[in-house]
Each structure stands twice: as C-alpha cells, then as structure tokens.
Symmetry: C2
Subunit: 226 residues, 2 copies
Amino acid sequence: MQNTATSDGRRLRGDESRRAVLRLAVDRASLTGLDGLTIGGLASELGVSKSNVATLFGSKLELQLATIEAARAIFIDTVTTPALARPRGLQRLIALIELWLDYSEGRVFAGGCFFRAVGADAASKDDAARDRLAQIDAEWLAFVTRAVREAGAELPGLSGGTDAAEVLAFEIGSMLEAANSMSLLHRTSRGYALARSSIRERLIALGAPPDITLSPGSAAPLSKAE
Amino acid sequence: MQNTATSDGRRLRGDESRRAVLRLAVDRASLTGLDGLTIGGLASELGVSKSNVATLFGSKLELQLATIEAARAIFIDTVTTPALARPRGLQRLIALIELWLDYSEGRVFAGGCFFRAVGADAASKDDAARDRLAQIDAEWLAFVTRAVREAGAELPGLSGGTDAAEVLAFEIGSMLEAANSMSLLHRTSRGYALARSSIRERLIALGAPPDITLSPGSAAPLSKAE
C-alpha cells in the first residue's frame, strides 16, 4: 500500500508538473511558434531545473507534440464541445462561430488562435508536429463543414451541390482566421466586427432568419452552464 | 577619376551583395519567420564570411527591416503594379485577385505569402519590424478596398453603405490568405480552387457578369507584357 501510494503520489506530482509546463508551453508557442519552445526556457520561466522538465519530455519534438495535444484539448473544451451542446442546425453553426470568435478575442491563448500562430512556421517543416497540425486542421475543417451541412435545411439558398457546404465552411473559416490575425497585428477589434457582420449577412443571404445575431460573448453563458 | 571609379565599383559590389543577401533573406524569412534570420546563417548559406554580411546590415533588426522592404518591393512588382496596369473597375479587381493567388501558388517566396508567413510571430512583438508589417498590411487592405470601391458601378448589389467596400475587401482578403495557408499546411491546391470559386460566386451575386472567370495564370500574360 505504501509503495502504491508513493507511486501514485509521484505520478500525480509528475502529471501536475506536466500540466504546469504544458499550460505555459501553449501560451509561449502561441506567441513565438513551436520553434521558440525550449526545455531550458520553460524550466527557467517556471523556476525549476532544466532536468525536471527534461524528465517529463524526452526531446524537443516530444515537447512540441505534447504542446499541440494540450492546445487541442483546450480548443475542444472551449469551442467544439460547447457548440456540440447546442441543438444541431443553424443554432449550433452560429454558436460555433461565436465560440470561435470569443476564443480568439478572449485570448484563451496569449497569442490568439494557437493553431494559426504555430501553423505558419510549422507548415514548412517535415516532421511529426507538422503532420499532426495538418490533421487537426483537417479535423476542424470537417467539423465546420458538418455544422454547415446540418444547418442546410435552414439555409435554403445553400445549393445542394456536393461542394456547397465545404465552400461555405471555407468562407466562414477564412473570416474567423482573418479576424484573428487582424486583431493580433493591428491590436484593434475591427476584424472581429467585420467577420461578425460578413458572416451574418452571408447566412441571411442564404435564407437564415434576418434577426439572427452574432455578438461577442453571446455563446458563452450557455456553454458555461453546461 | 580612379578614386571615383573605385568608389562606384565598391558601392556597386555592396549593392549587389545586399541584393543577394536580401533575396535569400526573404525566402528564409518566409519559411522560418523573421526570428529565424541571422547574419551568420545567411553568410554561411551564401558561402561568405559573417563580417561581410554584418558590414551590410548593422544589426538583426536592420536586417529584418531591410528584408521586409525587399519583400514589399517584390510584392508590389508581382501583384499591385500589374493590377494597376489594368483598367480601373471590375477588371482590375479580378486581376488583383488572380495576381495574388498566382503570387501565392507560384511561390514567389519559398514559404508562400511573405507577409502571412512572418506576420504570426511578429504580431506579438513590440518593435519596428512589427510596426512596419502592420503599416504594410493596412496599405494592402486599403489597396483592396479601393479596388472594390472602383468596381462599385459594376457590382450593383454592393450596398452604398460606407462599410460595404471594406467588408467585401475583408472577405476577399480573408479567402486569399486562407487559400495560402491551406496550401502550405496541406500541400494541395484545394484552397486556391475554393477561394476562386467562392470569390467568383460572391462577385456574381453582387451583380458581376456571370461569365467572369478566375483562373490560375490568367492575369499573368498581360502583366508580363507590361
């Protein structure tokens, strides 16, 4: 029993340390990219020894991969899970858009959307981190496309063509990303206002009720309650 | 005369070296971000001594700023100048979109659009490089907005509201950027096809003639001839 307890205690402290390192790592990576992450740098910011952190993550690539998974888990908790809690259809699609904009604007990660922040540099690599980021991006595009498709009955203007949902998902995703990068570079909220206005007009043009709104924070209370 | 000639010769060699360093620097920065640029790294890739390059650029920030200006000059030559050579109005707007997509897809910079590639990391800084990138981005948004406004008479569906041109410019810019990042991360041309199809449909919905086309390379011959 003593041995088990000690072993559990050690694992627990190991898990807690891992979480503390990764919570810092996702923020750092969102500011500087994955290449900016170093075991020594994180250890020094946390005030622990480099060997402490090195024990948790064997290599820089392992640290990068764990950071990506930690960011994905936060994204899922913040955006996709609350959206899935909404009724399928236009309501869920609108909630998804609001949740994403709130996630970016609320700086869940210090550098805005984690995946946009690390994607630019990682795209030119040929390693497991890049492959994983491409998978996660494909997963996200498929998620938005599914949400659009499920709202199809409430968007009669959306053509029945096989590509129509993918095209609208691409448009929505593009505007979300552009709002994120515009706010980071110009340090204003203008991009968010433009994205909200554009996407709303687009949905109304496709037949959504003209009284739909896309407003900051409007998706949050329900997602918090759930 | 001898002195002058020598002095001119030296300056010429200096200018040529500067150009060679910057041509490499814009490609490197488009792959790794501005932080990845080092005087030593560029010297070693060019097979010259570090002091050779250090003489041309006093500091890392000076190198970064010169790299940004070199990239801006290439962008202007490749995208905005050829677009300005087209007749003002819808023709110019369409040429601008085609030229931008060709610029990204043709990898004028090894890492796709230079400004998207370096923007993510630079946005979180507080230095002259960041400020300059924000200025250049504002310049680009204003350029697209003006092109949209000048096409207004041919886009009767574009509302006369003060924001309408800015909103459409934001939508077009968003899709161009998304096509660029999708192609870099997924290494397919799907994003370009989606952007061409989306923007074309959007312009037609606003009243552009239904036979307008947005196709790869279609803007190139005229811009080359000029």
